[in-house]
C-alpha cells in the first residue's frame, strides 16, 4: 500500500467521520434557537463549559477540516471536468461536488473567522443577540444560505461517494438506493439548518 492510497482514503473518511458527524451535531445544537433565545444561550454556555473542549475542537474539528480542505484543493486541481460533452447525472454531481467544495471552503473560513475567532483564540461573545444581529443583515443571511446549501450538498454527495470508495455499495441497485438515501440526508439537513437559521431573524 502506497502513501497516496492511505491519504486519499483518509480524505474520504475524514469528510464523514468526524466532519459529517460534526456538521449534523452543529445543526442540531443550532436548532436550540428554535426553542427560544434563552435556550440557545444556555446550550452555547453548556458547550463552552465541557471538559477538554480544546482537545475536541483541535482533534475532531480543526485538524480534520484543515486536512480535508488542503487535500481537497489538490483533488479539485487534479480534475479536468468535461460536463459539456458528457452530460450524465453522475458527472454533474461530480462537478458540483468540486464547485460546492470551493464554496464550502470559503464559507467555512469566513464563518470560523467571524464567529469562532472574533475575539481571538477564545470567544465568549457568541450569544443569540450577537448571531441575530449578524443574520439580520440581508447580505450575511444570503451568504449563509448559500454556504449552508453548498456544505449540505457536498456532505450528502460525499456520503454517497464514500460508500462507493470504501466498497460498501457495489452493485448498481445498492448505489441507486444509497443515492436516494443521500438525497434524504440533504433534505433533512437543509430543513433543519434553514429552520435554525430563520430562528435568529
Amino acid at each position: 500500500m502506497s502513501h497516496s492510497y492511505f491519504w486519499r482514503k483518509l480524505h474520504s473518511l475524514s469528510g464523514i467521520l468526524p466532519l459529517g458527524i460534526f456538521l449534523m451535531v452543529h445543526m442540531f445544537i443550532n436548532s436550540m434557537a428554535t426553542l427560544g433565545q434563552e435556550n440557545f444561550n444556555r446550550g452555547v454556555s453548556l458547550l463552552h463549559n465541557i471538559p477538554y473542549l480544546w482537545f475536541f475542537e483541535l482533534v475532531v474539528i480543526f485538524i480534520p477540516i484543515l486536512y480535508h480542505a488542503f487535500y481537497g484543493i489538490w483533488v479539485v486541481y487534479l480534475t479536468r471536468n468535461n460536463i459539456e460533452n458528457y452530460r450524465y447525472f453522475r458527472n454533474w454531481l461530480f462537478y458540483l461536488q468540486r464547485v460546492s467544495a470551493v464554496i464550502t471552503l470559503l464559507f467555512v473560513t469566513w464563518h470560523v473567522i467571524g464567529l469562532r475567532f472574533s475575539e481571538g483564540v477564545i470567544s465568549n461573545n457568541i450569544t443569540f443577540e450577537f448571531v441575530s444581529a449578524a443574520l439580520n443583515q440581508p447580505v450575511i443571511l444570503v451568504l449563509y444560505l448559500i454556504g449552508l446549501l453548498a456544505s449540505f450538498g457536498h456532505f450528502a454527495n460525499g456520503l454517497w461517494s464514500f460508500l462507493v470508495s470504501w466498497g460498501i455499495t457495489v452493485g448498481e441497485q445498492a448505489q441507486r438506493t444509497a443515492a436516494y438515501g443521500s438525497f434524504v440526508v440533504f433534505i433533512i439537513l437543509t430543513a433543519v439548518g434553514i429552520n435554525a437559521l430563520l430562528a435568529f431573524i
Binding site: S4, E84, Y86, Y88, S161, S165, W166, G167, G171
Partner: protein, 248 residues
C-alpha cells in the same frame, strides 16, 4: 438523390506540430459510417474549399466494434468510427483525435499508456512452465458469466477519454485496467496473484484516484461493468490494506 456530408476534422501533421481544423464535403451514400466517410476523403483529398490537401489519417482494423482501433472523438464524444453511422449523426460531423493520448497524426493516437497500465496491474494469469499440469481448476458458470462481460474490454480508450480524473495532471491509470484486475482475480489460477494485483492498484495513480463520476460505464461501447468492478476492488483493496497493516 445526391446528398453531401460535411465533416469538420481536427488535424495534426505530426506529434510535434500544431493542430488545425479542416472541413470536407463528401458525397453521401446510404448506411455509410464514419470510416467510409474518411475513405471518401482518401479517394479524393480535396477540402471544402476545393484545395488539394493530404488525406486524413486514421486507424482502423476490425470494422465491427471489436478491436477499438478506430476510437476517436465524434461530435464531442469518444466512440468507434466503424459503428458511428452517418445517418444517426448531426451534421456537420466533428471528428477529433482522443485527447487523453499523444497524437501520432490526424486521428491516429498512441494508446501505449493503456497497455503499460495493464502491465502495471499484472493483468495476466501466470502459468509457471509449459509442461502438462493436468486439467485447470473448475470455474462456476456464475464466475464465467461475469468474466465474459469483463473480457469484452478492447482497450479502446473511451473510458479514459470520458474520465475527468484521467488527464495530464494526474497519474490515474483509468477504469479499464481496474476491470481487468477484477477479471484476472476472478479466475482460480489468476487468484494466486490476487494480492500482488491489489497492491498494484494501491500504488500512486491507482484505484483511490477514482472520483466516481461514472462516465466510464456510460461511454463503454462493450458494456463492461466498470463501476461495479471499481467498487468491488475498492472493497477488496480496503480489506487488503487493513489486513496487511495488522499483519505488519
Amino acid at each position: 438523390m445526391a446528398k453531401d456530408i460535411r465533416l469538420v476534422i481536427k488535424r495534426q501533421a505530426n506529434p510535434k506540430s500544431a493542430d488545425y481544423v479542416e472541413e470536407f464535403v463528401i458525397p453521401y451514400f446510404p448506411k455509410m459510417n464514419v470510416v467510409a466517410a474518411l475513405m471518401e476523403i482518401q479517394k479524393n483529398p480535396l477540402n471544402a474549399k476545393g484545395d488539394v490537401t493530404t488525406p486524413v489519417a486514421w486507424d482502423c482494423n476490425c470494422l465491427e466494434e471489436v478491436c477499438g482501433a478506430c476510437t476517436m472523438v465524434i461530435n464531442g464524444q469518444a466512440r468507434q468510427a466503424c459503428s458511428a453511422l452517418v445517418d444517426q449523426l448531426t451534421q456537420p460531423i466533428h471528428l477529433a483525435p482522443l485527447t487523453k493520448f499523444p497524437v501520432v497524426r490526424d486521428l491516429v493516437v498512441d494508446r501505449k499508456v493503456m497497455f503499460d497500465n495493464l502491465r502495471k496491474v499484472k493483468a495476466w494469469i501466470e502459468v509457471d512452465g509449459t509442461h502438462d499440469m493436468g486439467p485447470g481448476p473448475r470455474v462456476s458458470p456464475k464466475v464465467q458469466e461475469q468474466a465474459y462481460r469483463l473480457s469484452k474490454c478492447m482497450t479502446c480508450g473511451c473510458c479514459m477519454e470520458a474520465c475527468p480524473n484521467v488527464n495530464p495532471k494526474s497519474n490515474f491509470i483509468g477504469p479499464a485496467p481496474i476491470a481487468q484486475v477484477d477479471l484476472m482475480n476472478s479466475h482460480p489460477t489468476g487468484a494466486l496473484q490476487r494480492e500482488r494485483r491489489l497492491e498494484a492498484l494501491m500504488t500512486e495513480g491507482g484505484i483511490a484516484d477514482c472520483g466516481n463520476a461514472q462516465n466510464c460505464i456510460k461511454v463503454c461501447p462493450k458494456e463492461v461493468p466498470l463501476t461495479r468492478s471499481i467498487a468491488r476492488l475498492n472493497r477488496a483493496t480496503t480489506f487488503h490494506g487493513i489486513k496487511s497493516w495488522f499483519n505488519k
